[in-house]
């Protein structure tokens, strides 16, 4: 079986890899590129733990072939923080205790980021629908929803956010 050679962009960097044609993008990220943030949960597109973006759209990387990444742009959880500065969603997930075991967290963060980019002021119901493709067996979801709500509020008021950060 001939390997497929793929050139793609991941978190802004050009990356080349070779993989068997049936290998998933999730497996490529984790096992070939060392990007282990995306997690394998169900492997059938139900749990969202492997969520990444493909040309800006949220996908389950377990339902994308590595070969399909050719010429596309991928963003993973590893590109979310700006150096040492956590993304506001990451900071608020910690602040609001929106994670326990942490397996689902990268997927939730990717999904929440896509949501807030498209809809800066979502209702609670919109947040719950947008995150319906991500399963969490620890938190009961409420704390995740609160963390997303707090982040949305913070991102809509960047001035206040700056002040808070200085005090902290």
């Amino acid at each position: 079986m001939a390997a497929v050679l793929v050139t793609t962009k991941i978190n802004g960097d050009t990356v080349e890899f070779a993989c068997p044609p049936e290998e998933t993008l999730l497996s490529v990220l984790r096992n070939r590129l060392g990007l282990t943030g995306a997690k394998e949960g169900c492997s059938t597109g139900d749990c969202g733990a492997c969520s990444v973006t493909l040309d800006g759209r949220l996908v389950c990387s377990c339902l994308v072939l590595g070969a399909e990444a050719e010429g596309r742009e991928i963003a993973t959880i590893e590109g979310m923080a700006d150096q040492d500065q956590l993304h506001p969603l990451q900071r608020n997930f910690i602040e609001y205790a929106a994670l326990q075991c942490g397996i689902c967290t990268p997927g939730f963060l990717m999904a929440a980021r896509v949501l807030l980019e498209r809809n800066p002021d979502p209702t609670e119901s919109e947040i719950r629908y947008a995150l319906a493709g991500n399963l969490c067996r620890c938190t009961g979801y409420d704390k995740i929803v609160r963390a997303v709500q707090a982040t949305a509020k913070e991102l809509r008021r960047p001035e206040k956010n700056k002040h808070r950060r200085k005090k902290a």
Partner: protein
Amino acid sequence: MRYVRPSTTQEAAALLESEPGVAYVLAGGTDLLVRMKLGHIEPDLLVDIKHIPAMHAIAHSARGTRIGAAVSGAMLGEHKALARAWPGVVEATGLIGSDQVQSRCTMAGNLCNASPAADSVPALIAAGAKVVVVSSSGRRTVAVEKIPSGPGKTSLAAGEFIEAVILPARSPRSGDAYLRFTPRTEMDIAVASAGVNLTLARGRVASARVALGAVAPTAVLVPAAAKAIIGTRLDDDALGKLAAACSAACKPIDDKRGTIEYRTRIAGVLARRAARIAFQRAGGA
């Protein structure tokens, strides 16, 4: 397994034609890759059609709207003109899976996966949609209801694949709607579903199509249900006959999602509610 990404439809058709083993078309992959992982299918060749530009196009003409086979649910939902003209079809497709799945899933894939509970299919049948089926020997246009032939089975011959879905030109004062019942509001599979599409003339239903999902081995068109409301102002009597015709057309299974009795009854209820929504969307009072 080999993976190929042709840049034209002709090339894709030739690849499928010349493959001696098992070949599949890959668009969104949200069903195909799951079936591969579960070992239900073992393709020798995957033909990725996403590098064919026409597969991503939504084009309007006097004959209707042509939606390429690789247009995702998300792209469809973002197309405002389409959502205005065919809210039932767009909403039905939007019900497929999570946002993650919406980024990749397609109507053509939903149709070819041939689940009796596929959400976009009853809405497409009610809409009178057709598909363009292509192979190396040419093209044919087929009504959507002719594609699924049983659970997981289609009427497509070896080497054939769907190139586009065609929604007919829309008359003014038309409306469509799709409703499904699921125990949960999201991330669930229809227990029963109904799509209704109708056009009004002088306040009365001039033409209609009604289709049901998850109550038979394939989604079904129910001409008797349409007949029950044509010529009426969708009064309670007409709606009662519509519901009865729908229940009479059900041949459901008993499973963990619902019993035969429940599915049979709820199909009529859903059709009645969908008809009301379609009527209002068409400007009926």
